[in-house]
């Protein structure tokens, strides 16, 4: 597969497919580093510790039942959110990145300037990421 433009990323939050509302998404796969540097070392050395996952998603808002507003509203304050991110809707290879146990601390559920498109940006933190 060649390089590609990100035009069809998929985002599902708590089984609700919000892909068609996503305008920007960034999923960061990270581990906490634990320093193992000891006497005699000439530089820092580390081993990985816990996953430190973070996903920021910008969405066009939709107040319809079970769409953006409802899904995000229910996710805020919960530490048991599950979300799935894919770079493509179809195609191979297309890693499926599933994060379980994510916390959503807040969401700007009403935000914007007069005349603007209603949007919201949420950040999901923590949880455990599995690639399949």
């Amino acid at each position: 597969m060649a390089v590609f433009a990100l035009t069809d990323a998929q985002f599902t939050l708590n089984t609700i497919d919000l892909s068609s509302y996503v305008t920007n998404i960034e999923l960061t796969y990270e581990f906490d580093a634990v320093e193992t540097t000891a006497m005699g070392a000439t530089g820092h050395s580390n081993i990985k510790s816990l996953q430190n996952i973070s996903c920021t998603v910008e969405l066009n808002n939709d107040l319809a039942v079970g769409k953006v507003f409802d899904t995000v509203f229910a996710a805020v304050g919960s530490g048991t959110n599950t979300y799935i991110v894919k770079s493509l809707s179809t195609g191979t290879p297309n890693p499926v990145l599933t994060v379980s146990g994510a916390f959503c601390p807040s969401a700007p559920i009403v935000s914007g300037t007069v005349g603007d498109l209603s949007k919201m940006s949420i950040t999901l933190t923590g949880g455990t990421l599995v690639k399949t």
Binding site: N14, T15, D70, A74, A75, N81, S100
Partner: protein, 51 residues
Amino acid sequence: MANYKILVESTLGAIGDTVTDADIIAAPADIEQLIVSGIVEPVSTTKNTKE
């Protein structure tokens, strides 16, 4: 095994479909989260024994 009725269109299935807790776990999703958020509701299995 508990059953849940889908209240909102989702990757679990169409509105009105019934899924099991195993289906939800396989989704994957958290059952309590889906109930709290109104995506599914438990289907009562209590039988009315009154004659």
